[in-house]
Symmetry: C2
Subunit: 416 residues, 2 copies
Amino acid sequence: MVSDSEAVSADSNSVDGDQADQPRRISILGATGSIGTSTLAVLDQHPGAFEVEAVTAFGNAESLARIAKHTRARIAVIADRRGHGSLVQALSGTGIEAASGEDAIIEAAGRPVDTVVAGIVGSAGLSPTLAAIRSGSNVALANKECLVCAGSVFVAEARVAGVTILPMDSEHNAVFQALGGNAIEDVDKIVLTASGGPFRDWTREAMASARPDDALKHPSWSMGPKITIDSATLMNKGLELIEAHHLFAVSGDKLDVVVHPQSIVHSMVSYRDGTTIAVLGEPDMRLPISHCLWWPDRGENMGLRLDLTKAGRLTFLKPDTNKFPALRLAREALEAGGWATNILNAANEVAVAAFLAGNVGFLEIARIAEDTIEVARSAGLDRSPSTVADALSLDRESRRIAKERVAGIDTRTTHH
Amino acid sequence: MVSDSEAVSADSNSVDGDQADQPRRISILGATGSIGTSTLAVLDQHPGAFEVEAVTAFGNAESLARIAKHTRARIAVIADRRGHGSLVQALSGTGIEAASGEDAIIEAAGRPVDTVVAGIVGSAGLSPTLAAIRSGSNVALANKECLVCAGSVFVAEARVAGVTILPMDSEHNAVFQALGGNAIEDVDKIVLTASGGPFRDWTREAMASARPDDALKHPSWSMGPKITIDSATLMNKGLELIEAHHLFAVSGDKLDVVVHPQSIVHSMVSYRDGTTIAVLGEPDMRLPISHCLWWPDRGENMGLRLDLTKAGRLTFLKPDTNKFPALRLAREALEAGGWATNILNAANEVAVAAFLAGNVGFLEIARIAEDTIEVARSAGLDRSPSTVADALSLDRESRRIAKERVAGIDTRTTHH
């Protein structure tokens, strides 16, 4: 056993070979966002362990310049050209290159490093992430849209490039770790855990009149408004089912969701022999981020020690798909194909924005998504994208349809 | 990710190479005991997957012959020579070889196979298990004494022979799986779970007058009387700490115990980055046995599906080392060295037998073990065994001392 365990660890280290003691080179796409901020926190706790090639942001030049200086990045790129002047000025004399515009983001993302953190939110993340994959960098993927809108494309590109997609959100990262060296054929179920969101114990009637403020109270994770609403509808978990399908090459019938209010078990894999392997930890994004940055090794202690004797009890419940139709919708979309998951995501985003703006009720979110898929199918949009350009075009078209649905809803009738 | 996961699984399968579809060859030492019986249940659920070379037993010739015929073993060996005639008679005409005596057991254990199930209870298991290791077979280890009485010897022999010791009890098997391909240097804590036994919620005063019947009521596992008493004193968990030290090459300060009354989390490994990997399953010995027999692959479904939404809640408590001094004793023995763990085990066995016979009180068990170690140290027995012969000799000497301690106890004074 001892000899074997040593052999296994030697094996897993050999992936890195003699680089183990050299700093790892990384780039951070979306450095000023939530994932970027947590990534910087992990870097700060491992001084000297990482070298940063590129940092990018959408529009906040000051913040990006500060991050670039702090991490001693080689290049900082801002997507919004209007920030170009401020960025150049803030970086003058530092030796850090400054650039702006979409093409510059893609160029920076394509600079070969060990790992690119793909933290750009939304469909804007597709082309830069693809560039990272094609350059042969491993990708620590936080962007949901790459897999939901164009999963087959990304998985195929990663295979061709021989790179690893390291899932950065806590559930898929947990599954990745719970799979370990096991064969995917031996998997009985991949079980994603869900906190259940703020409406876990609400009735459907109460949910019908829920306001944005109610939905923004997430019980265990601190996140942005869009993802917090997705967590209230469980659409977040539905989209994660779709991501898991692509990441782990399993069909929908091998994917399950359990509600686990404590958010300590981040997800599980059950094997056909009856063994279940679970990955647990504090609900803190630094955990999966550290895993991705250090993989296949592990980072230093960041003060995130799980003490189950303090955590109290862990509970698990079946999700109520009547109350949370988003789970059913996501499964149906997964079954229908890449076109449907693309449309589901786009329509959901439009519907959530409408809910946050007070234009539609909470229960309309799933209905708008479902209707948009139906309308798009009737309009002949049911062909799965085979390129990122296809995916982006379908995404735009779906948003247009979803916005028509939103406009067609008389908000006074939604609170029945 | 998909490409990587396939690479990993191909790697792990390659250990078996082209044998994957051939039956695996195994031998079962202690075939009529509890581990043997569960092993047979696993074999029955995988028809054609295993070929049995040898089955052995201590004294039950009829039962052994039945098992040998059922499994179509090549040889059946009974340790007690008085059973020789019955065994020969029961196997006549079957083509199955029959043999008897300790040397024949050792010869059978040393026949090269893929995996030898080391299910002999007690110190009688040492020499046969050593023979299995030396022959180059992997060993599925259920015998505690190999590691507790002579751990350094067995680990060194396994390293030299290049074989893997696969832990068959549920806790260490869980740790083995939770370690996966991780480096042992990245481990922060190995956390063994304990049901807490029947006296989990008893006061020390109540435990002082506990009778064998009280201690034999185990809350979650169905086991023999000796191990059930060890589970009531938590000595079982103490001995498991010692085994874990040898199996996973970690020092005592990296080993923890948490009480987990539901016995669903079989054990955990916490890594330095804050990630905890736990292995869960129904409390059924077929699970770890199947894992060992199929390793590095996985066996078929045996109807042991864990449904956490039915399991209810999982809870975790710190063990009370004042109430359960066996845990402290085991740690002290681990610190002191192999001589002390050997004596701890021998003295505990004598003390448990005395408790079951009604000759000493429940709380005397740990005291006898502690006193025996002290007396043995004073007598110059504090040198760690470097051979199995040394270990067996120290075991005998320790039992003699422990029996003197038992005889010296006035049973009327133990129930204070």
